[in-house]
Symmetry: C2
């Protein structure tokens, strides 16, 4: 069993992915292209990546790694279009900082600096804007990463929804650190750093479109402490981390299963879930495995180090509810299999459509 892929194997895998690229044939953009699920993948892999073709982009991570004079620099970008701008437990400004910090953290990259690109709608209240700039500042201070450059554009009323924020981050990867779907191997234990589905459900409830009230906050938080704790505790036996945002834990597991061409088995009775999320999910008929998180990562760890890894995550303030939720197997190749409470099993597929648009 290879510990990791050689450069040739990585190239071969990229070639395989290229051959398997989904066709993009839709004539217009629909909300489902923003879901993080199947339609998003078709758009990104079927059109955007072929056009911008280069090896770093083809690896399909949430961030790229670059060699800059011998240092490994991670670069990641995210635009935030969440509606409403403020919701229980957070707001777009906080989300914009934490989201980009978390993409860096999952690459094992110490966040160094962020940029902020603001698109403002004419007529936006200055108080609303100031609150979000302050929220960005507070989140940046909390994780110790400065916002070093920015840009502000204004568009006419009806050409934006108050405020959109792009944050791009650079981070520094420790020498020799190898993390990513290419390092996942059969037998790996899958753990999640806390309860799942909190963010997406909190946003859905905050929109007030549903006749449900529940005491549920977004989980937006930075994951650099959790990532560091994992790296320190188990070193190279940590194989991959990914934050489970749009499309939720199910989407992350599918992406890793597809990239590694291995199977992921999820023990559905082990998923850490808040009661409010379980309740809302049942009423809405939405599987919390597909609901976005903004402060949870999924980690793949060598099985003999899994308990150590779990203890390390649980010892962080952000990881108290961490749990082992499954393992990697040779089969089903490229798929995610759920073992249900009643002993049955089901294929946990990529999300089709977008049940919860604009949650980040």
């Amino acid at each position: 069993m290879p510990r990791s892929f050689t450069e040739n194997e990585v190239i071969e895998r990229i070639e395989t992915m290229r051959r398997r690229r989904p066709d993009f044939k839709d004539r217009h953009i629909t909300m489902s292209h923003g879901s993080g699920g199947k339609a998003s993948r078709q758009l990104v892999e079927g059109m955007i990546i072929p056009a911008l073709d280069n090896p770093a982009l083809a690896l399909l991570g949430d961030a790229a790694l670059l060699d800059v004079e011998g240092s490994t620099i991670a670069l990641t970008t995210d635009s935030f279009v969440v509606s409403p701008l403020r919701f229980p437990g957070g707001s777009i400004g906080e989300l914009a900082v934490n989201g980009t910090v978390n993409d860096l953290a999952c690459l094992g990259a110490r966040p160094l600096a962020l940029s902020a690109g603001l698109i403002l709608e004419e007529g936006l209240s200055s108080d609303v804007l100031e609150a979000e700039v302050q929220a960005m500042a507070a989140a940046a201070r909390a994780v110790g990463v400065p916002v070093v450059t920015g840009d502000t554009k204004v568009v006419e009323r009806g050409k934006c929804d108050g405020l959109y924020i792009n944050t791009t981050g650079i981070g520094l990867v420790a020498e020799g650190r190898m993390l990513g779907p290419g390092y996942v191997r059969p037998g790996d234990t899958v753990l999640v750093s806390g309860t799942i589905g909190d963010h997406g459900m909190a946003i859905m409830l905050a929109r007030g479109e549903l006749d449900i009230s529940a005491d549920l906050d977004s989980d937006t938080m930075p994951l650099w402490d959790v990532a560091q704790a994992l790296m320190t505790a188990v070193g190279d036996d940590l194989h991959c981390m990914r934050d489970a945002t749009r499309g939720g834990v199910a989407t992350v597991l599918n992406e890793i299963a597809m990239t590694s061409q291995l199977g992921v088995i999820v023990r559905e009775d082990q998923l850490p879930l808040r009661d409010a999320v379980v309740g809302a999910s049942e009423i809405l008929g939405i599987d919390p495995l597909y609901v976005a998180n903004e402060g949870k990562l999924v980690a793949f760890v060598a099985p003999d180090r899994a308990e150590e890894a779990l203890a390390a995550v649980r010892a962080t303030p952000q990881g108290a509810d961490a749990a082992i939720i499954g393992e990697v197997a040779v089969e089903p190749e490229g798929r995610v299999l759920g073992r249900t409470t009643f002993g049955g099993h089901r294929i946990i597929d990529m999300l089709v459509g977008d049940p919860l648009p604009r949650i980040c």
Copy 2:
């Protein structure tokens, strides 16, 4: 006369700028906050920078410089919201790549990699999107910088205007390279790399709101060759470069005058102007000095090297129309003075309002 500022002097200047910070008192965002002129400056300096307070951001450049394990990395971000998406001479995709490349180039930073954050409006034609992704790819190839990571969000109809693009770039600054408003000194020659006002006027005409037709293309192009030519030709006698986008050459000169607390004298009869720009400006009553460029930089050079610098720029494919347009003086402190063709003079102030919204 100091060659450049010491670290203490830079800190002192930041403190001075802090004390002089404009108040931001507007209750709502208006289009003029996106102009690059006075209202933009009030918003950025009066609210955003104080909130996100850190030394890199306070220096107010279009990009930040970061020390990463001994290398100097430049980071810059820009969101593009131009309307229409395609215009004579270019389109939003090409603009998004060139704009960010040019911010890096003006710091003397070799562009290394770009990120792309796309915000798409539900219902956008896939052909339109693909054309812009291809335009980004072509522009990136032309300057030899890969787009290494990206993000795609979709918002409902009426919450965007087809397509907005954020590009963030990182670049590498050669060791010891010192460029910026802090290095400008009295006597410096001011040169511009070509004709001014082309981009903004081309967009204005492309919107078809005016009953004017003119054969005028946007000047969108990458300036890394021009920047390299200047650095190679005159080395440390090149003191500052800045690309003259929103708010045009007048805005760049005002920013540098304010930051350096020196005066800039513009010889208005020396400005390189296309006939079509002169004609449209007269009809519209808009001064081309305030009209955006997307492929022109302003450079400050030691006077005894100015002719060498000019020749070097003119020798590049992008700089054939370069011209010397003025010089730096001790007075008027922090202001820009125009010497007119008739021997008179006028203060060229910061832009108030936004005569040409959404030109980038």
